[in-house]
Subunit: 433 residues, 2 copies
C-alpha cells in the first residue's frame, strides 16, 4: 500500500440493495476506499421477486452477483457477511465473520418481514424477501396442486386449492393476481382429477383500500380488476390467527393450506443496537441529511431509514426509486466532503423526487399514478413492463426477462414451474386407483 | 368411466427421465390408460446438469414440468411419488403416498450415486443427480471463493482454492473443465485479495484413462486438453479417505475444501425388493425383451436395467440415447400387444443403436466418437452443442439455452452465479481490515 492509499478514507456500505448499490456506483470517481458487504452474493431486483415465486422468471433473471457489478470499479471491494452491530465510538462494524473499521458508514441493510409479534406465523405464512423465500413459495404453490390432485377428501382438497394473500400493498396485489392467473390460465389442462380454475384466491387487507400509497382512483381500479379476474378481496379485515391448515380472518375461520404474507416490513434487527431513535417498524429516525444524531459520519438509507422529504415534509416511501435516491444523495455528499477534505458546514437536506408508483395486476392489467395522473389497463401494464425492464442490471438480464415475458404472454405458460428443495406431500385421504 | 375405459389396460411408468418420457410419448396412440409417476414434478435434461452446477444455465433451462410435456396427450396421467416397492403377484406398485394397480409396469426410475460403501462421504463430496444437487454444488463452489477472499491463513486459503473431482467419465471431465474455466476466465477480476487463476482443479480417475467408454484416441485428446487448461489429471488413482477439509488419494493426503463426486452410479434402492437377479450396481438383469424373469408384464428400462445389446452382445451403456431407445422399444412392444389383445409368442429382442458418444471439455474443446471416427477441438465442441440443444424439451428452452451459451461464450461470464440456500462461511483465520 502506498501512502496515498493509506491516507484514503474508508467508506463502508452495508447492504447491496438499491440504496447500497446506488451509493457505491455514484462514488465511482471518489478517491476513497469503499467496502460493500451484503448477506448474499447477489443484488436482487426485488420488484420482480413475485415473478420468481409465481414461476415466470428464474432467479438468475433478477439477481446479479454484486462482485460482477463492481468488477470494473476499482475503488470498491465486495464481501459477504451479516452485520451484528456497530461500535459508533470506535468506528468499527461487527459482522458475523469479520470486523471492519470505517471513516464513513452507510447502513443500507434493508427490511425484513414483520409479523407484528406473531413470529410463529412465519412458518405457516411465508413472506418474500430473498430468492430463497421466493423459491420456497413457488414450491409450496406448485405442490398444493400436486397434493390436491391426489386428495380424495373433498374439504381437504378445497383447502389445498385455496390461497390467501395477506396484505394489499403492491406485492400482495401482484401476488394475488399472479396466483389467480396460474390457476385459471396456466395449468388447467395439466391436471385431470381437479379443476384448477375453481381455486380460490383471497386477498386480505387491513385498511379500507388496496395500494394505500397510490391515489384512490388507482385503488378502486385495482380492486375492480382483481375481482373481475376472480380474486376475492376483503378490505378492513385482519388476520387474527394462523394455525396449520387454518386461518382466522376477523371472526371467520377458513380451511386453507396456502398463505402468503405480504403485510408489513420491519428494519433489520441490528438497528436496536445503535442507541438512536427508532420508529415503530424499527427504522432509524434520521437527520435531514440522512445521518444519525451525533454521528455525521454514519448514514442510514433505503428501507432502513425513517426519513422525511425536505420539501413536502412527508415520510419517504419504502420503494426502490427512493432507496436509489437516498444512496446517491449520500454518495454525492461524501464525494464533496472527501474532495474538500472537510465536513460541510451546512449539509443540503435530502429531497425525494416522486416519479410515480405502479402495480401490475395481471395480463394486460395494471395501475399507475404519475404526476397526479392515474391510468390503468393495457397502457399501464405495458408501461409497468418497460419501467421494470430498464433498470435491471445488465443487458443480458433485460433480454432474458423480456423474452420470458413475451413467451409467457403469448403461450400462456410459465417456464419455471419446478418444484425444488425437499417437501413432502401431505394428503389426508388418498385417491386410490 | 365408460365400459370401454374400464376395460382399458393400465400401464404404470415409474420415472420421468429419458426412458420413462420416451416410453410414454411413444404410447401416444395406444388405447391404454397410462400413469407416469416421478419423485419430482420435472423431467431433467441430465447431460446439461453440470452447467447448472457451474452457473452457466438456470434450472428452468434444462427442466420441464412433466405435466406440461403431456398436457395434450390425453391417455397419460401424471403424479408425484417415490416408489418403495412392487407387489409383483398382486400387480400393485407401492409409493410413499399412493398404491397403484397396473397391468403393465415399466420401471424407469434411474440411478443414484454410488459411494461404494462409504455413504458418509456423500456430505463431504456431493454428487450431482438432481437440480437440488446441482444448486448445492454451485453454492459450494461460489462460497469457496467468497471464503478464500476473507481467509488470512495461507494453507487454509489454498485448501479453499482446491477442487477435486472424483471420476473421469463424461460428467467428471466436463465438471473439471468447467471448474477450471470459472477460476481462470470468469471470475479473476471479481476478487481483489485472491488470485483465482491459481485455483487447482484435480481430476481423479481409478482406471488407466479418462472417458473409458470412448475410443482411446478420444481419451488421450481429452487428457491433453484438460492438462493444457491447467487441470491436474491423476489416472490409476483411488480415493481412500475423505474427511472434513481432507482427501486421501492413494497414500497422499491433500488439504481440500471442495470435492465433487462423479465416480459411479447405482440403481435406485427398491430393485432389491423385486426378488430378481441384480448386478453389482443394483441394476436389474433383464431378459432380451427388457422384461424381468417370470413377469412378462414388468419391464425395466434406462439406467435401472442391466441389458445387453442383442447384436453386439455388449452391455447397453447408461447414456441418454440408450434410455430413450429402451423406453420406445417397450412402448412399441406394448402397443402391438395391446392392439392385438394377446402377448406375442416371441418378442423381438431389444437392439441398441449406438449413435456415438461425446464429452465437452471447455471453450472450443470437446471430443466425439461417431461410427468409429474420433474428432475433437472446435468441430467436436460445436457438434456437442448442437446435439445437446436439439433434444431439449420445448422450443423455448432451446432458445434460452442457446442464448445463455452464446452470451457466456462471447462475454466470458456465467450468468447464474447466485449463492442460494443457507450456508455459513467458515474461515480459519480472518483477514482483518
Amino acid at each position: 500500500m502506498t501512502t496515498s492509499e493509506l491516507s484514503k478514507k474508508n467508506i463502508l456500505i452495508v447492504g447491496g440493495g438499491f440504496a447500497g448499490i446506488g451509493c457505491a456506483k455514484k462514488l465511482a470517481n471518489c478517491a476513497a476506499s469503499i467496502t460493500l458487504i451484503d448477506r448474499h452474493n447477489y443484488h436482487l431486483f426485488q420488484p420482480l421477486l413475485y415473478q420468481v415465486a409465481t414461476a415466470v422468471l428464474s432467479p438468475a433473471d433478477i439477481a446479479s452477483p454484486i462482485r460482477h457489478i463492481f468488477y470494473k470499479q476499482e475503488n470498491v471491494r465486495v464481501g459477504m457477511g451479516e452485520l451484528s452491530g456497530v461500535d459508533l465510538e470506535k468506528r468499527i462494524a461487527h459482522f458475523d465473520n469479520v470486523d471492519v473499521k470505517y471513516d464513513y458508514l452507510v447502513l443500507a441493510a434493508g427490511a425484513r418481514d414483520e409479523y407484528f409479534g406473531k413470529d410463529e406465523w412465519a412458518q405457516l405464512a411465508p413472506a418474500m424477501k430473498t430468492i430463497d423465500d421466493a423459491l420456497d413459495i413457488r414450491r409450496r404453490v406448485l405442490m398444493a396442486y400436486e397434493a390436491a390432485e391426489w386428495e380424495a377428501d373433498e374439504s381437504a382438497r378445497r383447502a389445498k386449492l385455496t390461497f390467501v394473500v395477506v396484505g394489499g400493498g403492491p406485492t400482495g396485489v401482484e401476488m394475488a393476481g399472479a396466483l389467480k392467473e396460474i390457476a385459471a390460465k396456466t395449468i388447467p389442462k395439466d391436471f385431470s382429477n381437479i379443476d384448477t380454475t375453481t381455486a380460490r384466491v383471497i386477498l386480505v387487507e387491513g385498511g379500507g383500500r388496496l395500494l394505500a400509497a397510490m391515489p384512490e382512483k388507482a385503488s378502486e381500479q385495482a380492486m375492480r380488476d382483481l375481482e373481475k379476474m376472480g380474486v376475492e378481496v376483503r378490505l378492513n379485515s385482519f388476520v387474527t390467527d394462523i394455525s396449520p391448515g387454518m386461518i382466522s380472518i376477523g371472526n371467520e375461520k377458513l380451511a386453507v393450506e396456502n398463505i402468503i404474507w405480504a403485510a408489513g416490513v420491519r428494519a433489520c434487527k441490528f438497528t436496536e443496537t445503535l442507541g438512536v431513535e427508532l420508529d415503530r417498524a424499527g427504522r432509524v429516525v434520521v437527520n435531514p441529511d440522512l445521518s444519525i444524531p451525533g454521528h455525521p459520519e454514519v448514514f442510514v438509507v433505503g428501507d432502513l431509514a425513517h426519513a422525511f422529504d425536505e420539501k413536502s415534509g412527508r415520510p419517504v416511501p419504502g420503494v426502490a426509486p427512493a432507496a436509489i435516491q437516498m444512496g446517491e444523495y449520500v454518495a454525492e455528499l461524501l464525494g464533496r466532503e472527501i474532495e474538500s477534505g472537510a465536513a460541510e458546514a451546512e449539509r443540503k437536506p435530502f429531497r425525494y423526487h416522486d416519479k410515480g408508483s405502479m402495480a401490475t395486476i395481471g395480463r394486460n392489467r395494471a395501475v399507475a399514478a404519475i404526476k397526479g395522473r392515474t391510468f390503468s389497463g393495457f397502457p399501464a401494464w405495458l408501461f409497468w413492463g418497460i419501467v421494470h425492464l430498464i433498470p435491471l442490471v445488465g443487458f443480458r438480464r433485460r433480454l432474458s426477462v423480456m423474452f420470458s415475458w413475451a413467451w409467457s404472454y403469448f403461450s400462456f405458460t410459465k417456464n419455471a414451474r419446478l418444484i425444488t428443495g425437499n417437501i413432502k406431500m401431505k394428503v389426508k385421504r388418498l385417491r386410490r386407483d
